[in-house]
Amino acid sequence: MVKGAKIPEKIPSLMGPSSLTYPEVSRPSYFPDLHLDELEGLLFSAQAGYGLEGFFRSPLRDGASLAHRQAVARELEEGEASLPLRGFLRTMEAVRGFLGLAEKTRHSWQKALYFLQAAGAYIGGLESLRGAWEKAFPRSQGLRSYAAYLVAYQEDPAFSAFRQEVAEAKEGLDEVRYRLHVHEGRLVVQAYQGGEDYGERVKETFRPFFGPGGSKVPRLPQGGAEANPWLNHIEEWILDRLAELFPQAFARVGSLYQGHQRFVDPVLMQLEREARFFLAYLDFIAPLRKAGLPFTYPEAGENPPYFAQEAFDLVLGAKLVAEGKKPVLNDFLVEGERILLVSGANQGGKTTFARMVGQLHHLFALGLPVPGRRARLSLPERILTHFEARENPEDPRSKLEADLVRLKELLDQASPQSLVLLNEPLASAALLDARAIGRFLLDRLREKGSLTVMVTFLDELARLKGVKSLVAEVNPKDPAQRTFRIRERPADGKAYALSLAETYGLTYDALRGRLGGGA
């Protein structure tokens, strides 16, 4: 903090309308079932140390915060708003890097010089962020609150004084120019007295051979010595001599270092952390959007209908896009019945569908855009999952018994505001038992009124009251082939009778379209 800077009464935030605190949160129990633990790793492993996982594990319960975040995320998806913030993140990384170097170096002048670089980067970064926000003033409340804070912070006289000192120290150093002579084990250093650039003269002689823009030969990076941040003993000797040759310039750098040890503002550090959360997610989905996959900001609904159109499992989608493929998009609609029963072919995408429904709700409750063309969802009070678990040989109880215990716990917690996801919960029961238990389970869930997706091989359960039947489709011409489409009813056969030429876009109309009309 710059000494004496005043703190506004209300702390700004991208996360919600009122300032929130984010404790370290442990992973919700449904994370592994929904592959959200994997997603968490994909999103934040490159940004360890910022505690972004805490945000990711805390779905919102109130609509006001949800709207606040959706507005921020929407705005950040436009480059205009996110570019300045990205610059700010790079600034903060640079500042931290320079401060680390200043701390580690053992040479006192180099310490002060690295410190000056940190201060310079900090000031430059804040100024350009403020400049960008003045040009395109943020619309969302979250970003506006920071924009206003930033203005107040920079208008503060303490900040202006700090900026002035940094500028003067830099100017002083810019004027340091010296001459070296190296010959047979002797080095002479003195102030620069003039003299022309001999390399230029050599170039001048051969100028006729260079193209109009000079040489096309690329300038090469100068040596590898700069990779080492620490000075060697000769460089230290030169730097100490320069401090004697240019005493005024060096005195300014020294006093800046003495006077402003902790200048990074904690509120701006919070902005950094919050912005990283949003950008990590938006950067993750950007290539998927680019590959043509839809994302949407769901509308929050208190009552049905709830639906999602052309949605997909985000983790699977990211994997497929990385391989140059695309996931199959699926829909669901909840109107009358609140239980969706998914049956049909093995390996037909049923589990992925249930997982997708869960992911949509969790991501929605974080205020982020979710995979899908359009969606209207409820903000669940809790998400309860039961995905077939691998048998635990240590467990003295039978698999079925363990499953039933888990299901009992789940039912106890379920409420009309819960989202319940059951994936083959009866796979370990004998067929006759499974039917009875399944019937019982579904009756309970209907009474509870929880929004439920249940994946099962027992298609007769689909005929129960309050249950809507969804089926994992196969290709009617080749039932061995899965389409990975989950439909409310079996689809009709598809027409594949496209002419070869149309496939290649070579009919007159198609070709005209490709060639862009013309004359």
């Binding site: 070296l180 002797r186 002479v188 050599v202 002689t205 000769i234």
Partner: protein, 493 residues
């Protein structure tokens, strides 16, 4: 410095990639024979000829005429062209021996640069000598050669050679290295500038110069010596880079010279070969738009392979598409090749095989020829054709020439014709010049009402003999396949 023998503004750049599907163009047009004749066994010449023919598709009529001047000059002074080619080759060899890769490490090699530049300066002196020893004493009728000669005379003065040689001496640093530097942000020198290595010794009248500090290394301070060496390198770097860059640029000049003169040498080779066959050769007239006319145009590739070729005449200004029908084995493919080759050779600035040729320049040449090979793939043949065509359509340039040879023949006549008509219409409307050879009457007949369409038919005499000439004539509902049947099996007569 520009060589500029092939283009008024720029040098030949061999690193430019070939146009999309160039191998197919080369194969379909039978360009191989032409390239071989130009190269006479020199693989570099073959490469240059290929690149120049491919890059000709980017030229405008003025640049083509400029290049024709250089080709004509080369035909008039073949020995000069050969000598220039040898000199460029020799100089580049010498440079390569002195410095194999100036930039091979992270910094340029100063000593290698000095040696390489010495070799290049020798080459430049010889080049001046060669141009002056030519019959016109450095004077030429073509703009390419005369401008090159003038540029060299202007820049390669005795003063230039003197200065260059003085630099090569000074850069050995007999009295140490002087340099200026600024303080970098982390306390290290930056922006090193080399100062004159042999400055005049300064006298300070009051006895004391400006304040200076001297560090004398202990003889056993090895790391200090290494560091001092690095600091010295920082200063020398800029000059070493300047010298290395100069070496690269002069080398590039010789490379361009070798390539451009190489193309002209190839032109001389080709001209001599065709002339020895007694075939006519003419410099074409490049124009704009859909102009097309020629007299006695023959397939240069066929002529080189067989020693003779039949020519055709045509006048089809402003006509597009051109549809060619008629008897099997009647010369349709040969005609298409002669047309494609002439267009390519014209655009490259060469003469063409014929008595006269005029055509609008195009910016791309695309060929879609029926593939004879792979009979096993019969079922997927149409698909292969469509796939190939679709890829070409993706890469279409703004104003190309598109040659089709029996496309869509893999399917039956009604389907193939419908497909072909659609493709031709769409391409023509988009401004593509289309020449389409087909034996589908239905396809060609679909354009009979189109005043812009032009029809050619392979001639067949009443007795069934072929003349291999094409005549302007609308399509006929038969392709005389029975003629062939009769000829080969001798029945039905």
């Amino acid at each position: 410095m520009r060589v500029g023998l092939l283009h008024p503004q720029e040098d030949l750049d061999l690193s430019r990639p070939l146009p999309f599907a160039w191998e197919e163009v080369e194969h379909d047009l039978g360009l191989g024979a032409v390239l071989e004749a130009m190269a006479e066994g020199d693989s570099f010449l073959e490469e240059v000829a290929r690149k120049v023919l491919a890059q000709g598709l980017a030229l405008d009529p003025a640049a083509i005429l400029y290049r024709q001047g250089s080709v004509k000059e080369a035909l008039a002074q073949p020995e000069l062209v050969e000598n220039l080619y040898r000199l460029a080759h020799k100089t580049l060899e010498a440079k390569r021996r002195e410095s194999w890769g100036l930039f091979r490490r992270d910094r340029p090699d100063l000593y290698g640069g000095i040696k390489a530049m010495e070799a290049l300066l020798r080459g430049l002196k010889e080049l001046l000598g060669l141009l002056h020893a030519s019959p016109g004493d450095g004077r030429f009728f073509s703009p390419g050669f005369s401008e090159l000669s003038a540029r060299l005379a202007q820049h390669l003065t005795p003063r230039f050679f003197q200065e260059a040689e003085a630099h090569l001496q000074a850069l050995r640093f007999p009295r140490g290295v002087w340099m200026a530097a600024r303080l970098g942000p982390e306390g290290r020198g930056q922006d090193y500038v080399l100062l004159n290595p042999s400055p005049p010794r300064r006298r300070w009248p009051l006895g004391r110069g400006p304040k200076a500090f001297t560090l004398t290394l202990h003889p056993r301070d090895e790391s200090g010596a290494r560091i001092l060496g690095e600091i010295r390198e920082h200063g020398v770097y800029a000059a070493a880079w300047a010298l290395a860059a100069a070496v690269e640029e002069v080398t590039r000049f010789f490379e361009a010279l070798r390539a451009e003169v190489g193309f002209l040498l190839g032109a001389v080779h080709l001209f001599r070969r065709l002339q020895s066959l007694g075939l006519p050769l003419a410099f074409p007239f490049p124009s704009r738009g859909t102009r097309l006319a020629f007299r006695n145009l023959y397939d240069v590739g066929l002529a080189l392979r067989q020693g003779h070729a039949v020519g055709n005449d045509l006048e089809a200004h402003g006509r597009n598409p051109i549809l060619i029908t008629g008897a099997n084995r009647g010369g349709k493919t040969t005609f298409l090749r002669s047309l494609g080759l002439a267009q390519l050779m014209m655009q490259a600035g060469l003469f063409v095989g014929g008595e006269a040729f005029e055509s609008g320049v195009v910016d791309g040449l695309f060929t879609h020829f029926k593939r004879e090979e792979d009979p096993a793939l019969e079922a997927g043949k149409l698909e292969e054709e469509l796939k190939r065509l679709s890829r070409l359509v993706d890469r279409l340039t703004p104003a190309p020439l598109f040659l089709f040879n029996e496309s869509f023949a893999a399917t039956n006549e009604p389907e193939g014709s419908e497909l072909g008509v659609g493709v031709i219409r769409a391409l023509v409307e988009r401004g593509v010049r289309v020449v389409f050879v087909t034996h589908f009457y239905t396809l060609a007949a679909a354009f009979m009402g189109d005043p812009k369409a032009f029809f050619l038919r392979a001639e067949r005499l009443p007795d069934g003999r072929r003349t291999y000439r094409l005549q302007p004539a609308p399509p006929e509902p038969t392709a005389y396949g029975q003629d062939l049947l009769r000829q080969i099996f001798g029945h039905g007569t």
